[in-house]
Amino acid sequence: MFGTNTRAVVAVSLSFFFVGSCSTTFAELRDIIDKQIESGWQANSVKPVERSTDGEFLRRVYLDLVGRTPSYEQAVQFLDDKDPNKRTKLIDELLADIRFGQHQSDIWDMIYFGRNPPGYGTDKRKGFQDWLAGHFNKNTPYNQWTEDILRANGNTVENGAPMFYVQYKGRPEDATEAITQKFLGIQLQCARCHDHPFDDWTQKDFYGMAAFVARLRVVDIGTKNKEKAYSIGEMNAGDVLFTGPAIEQVPGKKGEPVKPKYLGAEALEEPALPEGIEDPRNFPNGKEPPKPHFSRKDAFAAWVTDPENPYFAKAVVNRVWGQFMGKGIVHPVDNLSPDNPASHPELLNALTDEFVAHNFDMKWLMREIVNSRAYQLSSAGGPAEAKPLWYERARYRPLSAEELLESWVVATGYNEMLLANGQKPEESRLSVKGVTWDYVRRFFGRPNDGVGDFQGGLHEHLYLNNGQVHSLISTRKGGLHFELLNSEEPWEKRVERLFVQVLSRRPTDTETKRFTEHLSAEADPRRQTSEAIWTLLTCSEFRFNN
């Protein structure tokens, strides 16, 4: 489908890579990553910081893989483990943890929908989120579940996948931009109104892609499990009309129909529509729409997710790399343009080729990245940037709203408190008594601006200083506050417990001294204990995954 030329180019660059920069062809990907990153340091005279401490690594990898900080017991177990392979062991455990799928689903759901999708039921997408979490846990190859998203069979409640198109109801141009950007890392939005000034894309390219999705309709098929369910219908006929550059458009002028054409490749060959087939004006509500005689959408889904598509695998490895390393090898991760070169082009090629060779195995890719030396560097020292250019220091990433709430619950021992008092924690991890998810979402839901830089302003501190976090610091039996207050141990030991439970590390001597002073200043240390917990919950070290 992509012609022989592309394959030849891929093969050449691959062999060049193995001959040129890798001593053994059987090297694991993590070794290739280390080599490439190290040669980047050398070539640019950059000195990396030290390896992360166990505490730094522990907190980072928990947050990155399962979306919350470790419990006190989990932290102590890891910190005291003498096994030199304990990091690799922990990574494998977390990849097998049931929460892995949930957390990855949180992240990828944001990629596909963002915080504020446009409606038509897209604000309630549990069907989609659970479906995605399942695929991450089962480790379904990436190309398979993305093809399902683009084929959009079934309905939004029972399978979830069609939800992606629902958000672009009646807006095929927006769907085209989103698909090329999210799945292929290509930004076509400029070509919507004029030929792209830097890239090769023309308006014809844009509308050639839009033609694949222009026949889709969102059909309300009724209520299932008390929720509105949608399916995606496809008409047999209907074309995108191209009226020329926006600046030359004249009211009333009809455009030329544009045939579907794959981006940077050939036009779609589609069978002629047999005579006598007529589309309804609209698909009636309440029932599954019929299949079209020929589905452009399915041909499109197969093309996008084809292992030989030169953009598809590259876009996703770059995105996953960015997810863990803070910044894509091409950054922003969804702009793989010749105008926006890669920092480590050979590494990007190696990741892409290996990922395809490993059959789009996401857990494998993530495992290799988090086992690399660059991922496991410290976050202390180094340059001021949040995401150092040559990966010479660990990146700073603000915790998402979900990660924050889940980690607050772990850090305060909130669920243990409920259990100790004969109550059950809420079934949904985001329903926590005393903390309104809508507020957490509002104050922490979009910690980054459009290109992934931290934008936290004073609003979030108003919430932390004056808002509901306090209700998690419960004084009842089982919670951290109670445990600290009622422990028989010396304050120094209790301060250690506090630090390990909230920050996943042991305190320094200075910290132990200062906190012990604070906690033992008065006969009744209840308030001081709350203050100490609040301090660690709201400090920079907690706010970021670093």
Binding site: V451, G456, H459, N465, T508
Partner: protein, 423 residues
């Protein structure tokens, strides 16, 4: 201009300085990493402390129903024009109060901008630049907060009340990020601390210790931003009273018109008086693809009354000369009236207005052709418009900030300041 006595003034100042020392240690040219250096530069660029109020007409107000009427032409619309206190200049009958204050206004009838959709237009008319994949341009409010604002202050320097725009401070960094009041111009939820002052100080002392320990070994920007934002949130406690304006509103209701929008504009005046350098106030609903005429009839009288009230109020208080009032939306509307009595998006020829500090007043600049289809003379692009606003505030539009290593001037390269309208 404002004399509040912050509760912990000496403490918060000291804490702020302490926080900034870490900054100086990790100084680099990237982004807003070198706040101190650029603060010095800011002092040079800014000649005098000025203020700016932006009245944002969200959706795009029609020039044909406000300042550029085409009476008797097919594009003219339903309304009549009325005379103003500026001889020879006529405006729409929906703005009788503004008509009597045209001597204070500079109207530009020859805007020609580049972004015709809402998201693109909103970004463009907040930053002066079209959206770009790799540069996060700051909004005008952030720039004015940086160059005109008090650096050591308890109040945020960039306040938004019920308005649009999501570019924020961009590469200028969170210090200049907008602070959003709620729809009525009140402080948002959780803004007020209920802690006893002594306890708050004790808690703050412990937290400050933790942050200092972390900062010593971790020079990374996000942690510093987090510390600075915490300081600002804390300092907001010192100025809670500034946001309680119920009594003031009772006195001003008549002047601004008894509307929510009127109250927001009065709040803007209160904020400017308290020392805030930039306040943006939004009025929504101008995107009249259908029923353009009823739409504007519903919105403009409210706007007319409140805007006039604001100008009078600023003048009476003697601060109009130091306060530039900008009136604009993201786009204009089409000459052609569509089959739903609506007007669509149009950026080839439209209108904006300025008043107060730095501009002449009593002036209509530029002209559109007889049907309002195109600019007849003196076109003003977004770059020209932003450069003129910055010049009116005493700022050099060519002053540069850095996005990474790339220098970015305040107003886009190739602009022309419209000198004719500067005072």
């Amino acid at each position: 201009m404002w004399n509040i006595c912050p509760r912990h003034e000496h403490l918060s100042r000291r804490a702020l300085l302490k926080g900034s020392l870490f900054t100086a240690g990790g100084a680099s040219i990237s982004n807003w990493g070198s706040l101190f250096q650029s603060d010095l530069a800011a002092a040079e660029v800014s000649k005098k402390k000025k203020h700016c109020i932006l009245i944002w007409l969200n959706g795009g107000c029609s020039q044909f129903e406000t300042f550029d009427m085409k009476i008797g032409r097919p594009t003219g619309g339903l309304y009549r024009d009325i005379s103003t206190n500026l001889p020879g200049t006529r405006v729409c009958e929906l703005m009788p109060n503004i008509a009597q204050r045209m001597d204070k206004l500079t109207v530009i009838r020859s805007m020609r901008t580049s972004q015709i959709d809402h998201p693109g237009g909103i970004y463009l008319m907040h930053t002066g630049y079209p959206r770009a994949a790799n540069v996060r341009f700051p909004e005008m409010g952030a720039i004015i907060a940086k160059y005109c604002g008090e650096q050591d202050t308890d109040l945020p320097n960039f306040i938004k009340i019920s308005s649009q725009g999501n570019a924020g401070a961009g590469f200028l960094g969170p210090k200049y990020h907008p602070f959003n009041l709620d729809r009525d111009g009140r402080l948002p939820t959780f803004s007020t601390s209920n802690l006893d002052e002594k306890i708050e100080m004790r808690r703050h002392g412990l937290r400050d210790f933790v942050e200092s320990q972390f900062a010593e070994k971790h020079p990374a920007d996000p942690a510093r931003m987090h510390r600075e934002a915490y300081q600002r949130a804390r300092r907001l406690n010192n100025v809670q009273e500034k946001f309680k304006v119920d009594a003031e509103w009772e006195k001003s209701r008549e002047r601004y018109g008894d509307t929510k929008f009127g109250r927001r504009l009065m709040m803007a005046r209160c904020m400017v008086e308290a020392g805030v350098s930039f306040v943006e106030v939004g009025q929504s609903g101008y995107d009249t693809h259908a029923d353009n005429f009823t739409g504007h009839k519903a919105l403009l009288p409210t706007m007319d009354r409140a805007w006039s009230g604001l100008l009078d109020d600023l003048e009476e208080r003697g601060i109009l000369d130091d306060t530039l009032v900008v009136w604009m939306g993201e786009i204009g509307r089409t000459p052609r009236i569509n089959n739903r009595s609506g007007r669509d998006h149009y950026v080839r020829s439209w209108s904006t207005a300025l008043a107060g500090g730095g501009v002449k007043g009593g002036l209509v600049y530029g002209e559109s052709d007889k049907d309002g289809v195109d600019v007849k003379d003196n076109p003003v692009t977004e770059g020209d418009f932003f450069a003129t606003i910055y010049s009116a505030l005493g700022l050099d539009p060519e002053a540069e900030n850095f996005s990474g290593v790339r220098p970015i001037p305040l107003a886009p390269f190739g602009h022309n300041v419209v000198k004719d309208i500067l005072a």
